[in-house]
Amino acid sequence: MSALPLAGKVGLFFVALWIFLAIFGPALAPHDVGAVVSPDAFGAFSARYPLGTDYLGRDMLSRILGAARFTIGLALVAALSASVTGTTLALVAATAGGWVDEVMSRLMDAFISIPSKMLALVMVAAFGSSVPLLILTAAMSYTPGAYRIARSLAVNVKTLEYVQAARARGERLAYIARAEILPNMVNPMLADFGLRFVFVVLLLSGMSFLGLGVQPPNADLGSLVRENISGLFEGAPAVVMPAIAIATLTVSVNLLIDAISGRSTRAVEN
């Protein structure tokens, strides 16, 4: 880690900070997330309410601390599963080739064209609203994108001669995919994961808005911004703070990823 560039260090710091907050946040929260503690909505920064109060007069600090856990937990799992599933399927498609590839690619194309709102609604309708479901839906709506990118990478790598060498050695497809192809596409996929993470974080609020996932009084960071949006005009911390929270979280995650993959690419280059 010492070799991390500055940007990477900054990223690492914030990521660590957020993970810490996600774990211990609720314990540190001065108030209950649902408790209306102040008569006035959109209270400004104050000694009693460091991050002001929200549209109902609830303590913003406590709400953000509560939201961090959901946002990070959900987005991380969802984005990860999207990228992992996408990559795995892509590897299968690329290595197997032929009709397997065809069928999978067509299905993914079809998948991309299904409106995520509809997906979400069906999910809620079919299985009721729950956190695992939220993750599943988010993951499902981002898997095809990951798949497409991963597949194009994999197909390129597959044609390279060291893969031929592995085949001539009699290696199984599984090994070729895992050991020969994957390592040479992991960096771009990491970068892609970074962006997906951002998108999922933002998607969550939309989903909760539809009534899928995090249930009141809890909320994810995006929903905090959304539910307090009318405080924007008086520049209420209730809107600004969660927005900043999202920014620091997502940006730092990407900085960290860039730094890490940057390091390994440099290692490969020279």
């Binding site: 390279l160 009699g170 020279n270």
Partner: protein, 618 residues
Amino acid sequence: MDALVHVEGLRVVVRKESGGEVPIVNDVSFSIPKGEVLALIGESGSGKTTIALALLGYARRGCRIAAGSIRIGDTRVLELGPDALYGLRGRKVSYIAQSAAAAFNPMKTVMDQVVEGAIIHRTMPRAAAEAKAVGLFTALALPDPKTIGARYPHQVSGGQLQRLMAAMALITEPELVVLDEPTTALDVTTQIEVLRAFKKVVRERGATAVYVSHDLAVVAQMADRILVLSDGEMREIGPTGDILVRPSHPYTRSLLAAAAPQPRVDDTAAQTTPLLEIRGLVAGYGRVDASGMPEKRILDGIDLTIARGRTVGVIGESGCGKTTLARVVAGLVPAARGTVRFDGEALPTNLKERTREQFRRIQIVFQNADTVLNPAHTIERILARPLAFYHGMRGEAARKRIVELLDLVKMPAALAARRPAELSGGQKQRVNLARALAAKPDLILCDEVTSALDTVVGAAVLDLLAELRRELGVSYMFISHDISTVRAVCDEVVVLYSGCKVDAGSRKALAAPPFHPYADLLISSVPELRTGWLDGLPPRMAVEAPAPGEGKPAAGLCTFLGRCPVRISGICDRVAPPRRELGGGKEILCHHTGDELEALQSAQAAKATSRQRGQSVG
């Protein structure tokens, strides 16, 4: 003194992962008078390319020019700022890279890239530059010089690319030209033409040049003076003649000693039970039609047998199908027709049906070492895999074995931790070989194993192969375009020309006529280790290899027809050539009888030798 190039105490280092720096070129000093050609020779990995690049004030990623001074004319290269460097590169000094194929941008026409230097440095308007380029093309004996510029790199043969690169380097009339192994990747017949062309332009333009190579014979033709390197250190420097005749440094002597390869075959070990039997093989690439014939047919009716413990050489120019043949045996390319039998039983031509044992027993050493090693893996991991895969060898045992393997191919164990990109071309090639050896195979398909290596290491590798053969009875298919090596290691030799077996016979048969006309061309193209050999050669008629994609003659006819110096019009271009048995297991595919050919070829040989005697006096 009036030397054009002055290099003092040059030192280049590479940064380690761990942080420290190690020198790859150390305290190198030399100077080149105007109009002279200095050759850098030395084993692979000795720092030749590094020095060459340093002359342009350039160091590869991860490398750094740590100390020393380089003066070209009155420019102090290492003291130039970025902008000044842009001005220097391609203007004062220009570079001809080791592999032309990789050095051309696949997306742009050849002409664009040839004149680019002139455009960048505004030495002349584009139109003028193009005119000049066409002039250079002619001077470099390129086919249809007027139009070749409009082609894309992939539409031009390797040898032609190499010459186009020369044109690219000369377009700005630089004071110094740096040629980095410009012919290593070429086969002899093409190499000759390229060397001729280079020599001609260098002479006419009185250019000053640095010629990097590990092939003494080639250097002997090109250089006025030679600088011998090993491990990034200067060993000696002197006029070509002296170095070749009375080398002072032991390393140089070893180089020379290895230059003319000794025979490494003792027929005692030879058995005759066939290990690999190929019959009537037809194979190729692209879509297969209803009858199972590939769109792009490469190999046509190949018969070939490799007996246990024997080595069969496959020679032929670039693109004739050598690698394809190996790939068929390895199962990477399906056979459209014919059979491949291994150790008595038929070998499934598609990978899925082969047993792991079959995989283990047949190993292929791929040609392009730099693309065949996974850039993401360390050397250790690359070598560990076959050990684990075939022999279930892991942990300490595996690590010990890996060190052994590296040692076998004359590489320091320290390199095990590096990734392929951190190795020189030759080093990669040896890792590539070591990986095959790890499997303890019965048959090794060696595709140009030594062509990227210098004579010393090359010789060492050949010894290794011979040793394995002696002790373990390993058999080889030895693919190469370097006949001298093939002569040295093979019991039998097969000559391919555009996918057809045109000549086959024992090693001895390859020593004296009669040959198939193409084989003859090949053999007489091998550079000899003495100055002036190149100039002594009789000027040949159209020996130009057709660029990829250019039409073969009608099916059935002799494929060599277009280039054959002894073709009989009326027969060769009408009737398919017969396959003639000439006794002693020798066979050729030609209309000429053995005697006719013998007559023709011995006469010609006589002429050549006499002329050269007359020349190389004094």
